[in-house]
Amino acid sequence: MHTVVELQGVHKRFGSNTVLRGVSFQVARGEVVAIIGKSGSGKSTALRCINRLEQIDAGQISVCGHALHAAGLDLRGLRRDVGIVFQGYNLFPHLTVLQNITLGPTAVKRMPVGQAQTLAQQVLARVGLADKAEAYPEQLSGGQQQRVAIARSLALQPQLMLFDEVTSALDPELTGEVLKVMEQMASEGMTMILVTHEMAFARRVADQVIFMHQGQVWEQGGPEILDAPVTPELRSFVGTGL
């Protein structure tokens, strides 16, 4: 088993508010991990620590061979290896879909523009939006914008993809089209960590489910833990029907 992500005893505080209290878990290559839990349980923070949008206060994180706690971390190298998709899409509104996608490859990887455009067309086809290259983000539906955001990450050919509640702002129909793309990526062997409220999706696609509570990994295992929760907290969480 080749480990892509490893967290060991990670602590994170925001001021006097401790958000993560000793979080540890591992993600193997090709694995899909769903992190679930109530709001404020620290799941999004844990995800953001993995590509160092947040710096941790104690513990160790290693991602795709980058030691995040080490001095001399190659931050841009880390960002090339790790893609992230956000709840709010965060596309660049002043750029077309095509420009949104080619920006990373051309500006970061120094790829020639023609080659980057070909690549962009390929990733757009993968998310089913080959015909939207010239549109501006605001002309697209939420589900389409989120798929463009996924395509933008894919264009950097990451080894690991992070998804931070990517369907929480979408209605059920649009959620379906985004989840379909994610399921496709999972079946192609992409290593994925997703913070999600989509229990059905976690059950079907995840290899590992991590239930977080009060800044800790409260319960962890295969998707079957959702059907047979051990802790009262997970039982009550699953029981709410979320």
Partner: protein, 215 residues
């Protein structure tokens, strides 16, 4: 109005255009530098820029003009011509206001845009140049043009202290000898309008262009 008098007004208008142009060009460059310093990752640079802006915004333009015109002579480093002195004072004045306007526009670009740009691996400068500044520019257009119009009209202060021959000054001189204030100040007002109105029009056109993605 005689031909000579009209010519005098037009010469004054040229002085106004020249001083405004210099102010907006040089003040714009200094203002951009100040705005970037205000959002810099280096705290001392941020504080220095903030202090400069506070100081200048709290100083009347009239005083700045005086300092720039009489200051060098008082300090014993020689005299300054009217135009360079006026342009320097206006540049200092404009830099503080434009710097603060643009700082606000830069900071109003949502933090998530910075994050998204960071996550695709862009360097800090690339994020600023490719993602934040283009979006800030959109928001900056109306207040910037508004300030530019203020600059054009505030150039009249240059004649009060320095005696730089701009539009208001020449109108005043003409009125002093003819006692026809309505004619000369009215003509000056029309000329000011003729300078400011195209700016406002251009601003609207620019906004439309920058909002192309909303159509």
């Amino acid at each position: 109005m005689s031909e000579e008098q009209l010519l005098s007004l037009l010469q004054g208008a040229w002085g106004t255009v020249l001083l405004s142009g210099l102010t907006l060009l040089l003040g714009g460059i200094a203002g951009l530098a100040l705005a970037l310093a205000r959002v810099s990752a280096l705290p001392p640079l941020r504080r220095l820029a903030a202090a400069w802006i506070q100081l200048i915004q709290g100083t009347p333009l009239l005083v700045l003009m005086g300092v720039c015109f009489y200051g060098p002579a008082l300090a014993g480093v020689g005299t300054v011509e009217a135009l360079p002195a006026a342009a320097t004072a206006m540049l200092i004045y404009a830099s503080a206001f434009l710097g603060e306007i643009w700082r606000g526009c830069i900071q109003s670009v949502h933090k998530s845009q910075w994050e998204a740009a960071e996550c695709i691996g862009l360097s800090r400068w690339q994020r600023m140049r490719m993602i934040v500044l283009p979006q800030a520019l959109r928001m900056a257009t109306p207040p910037t043009v508004g300030f530019a119009v203020q600059v054009i009209k505030n150039t009249s202060v240059a004649s009060l202290v320095i005696g730089f021959a701009e539009l208001s000054y020449n109108a005043k001189v003409l009125n002093n000898s003819t006692f026809q204030p309505f004619l000369y100040f009215g003509s000056a007002a029309l000329l000011y309008f003729a300078m400011c109105y195209p700016l406002s029009r251009w601003s609207r056109a620019l906004e439309r262009k920058l909002h192309a993605h909303r159509r």
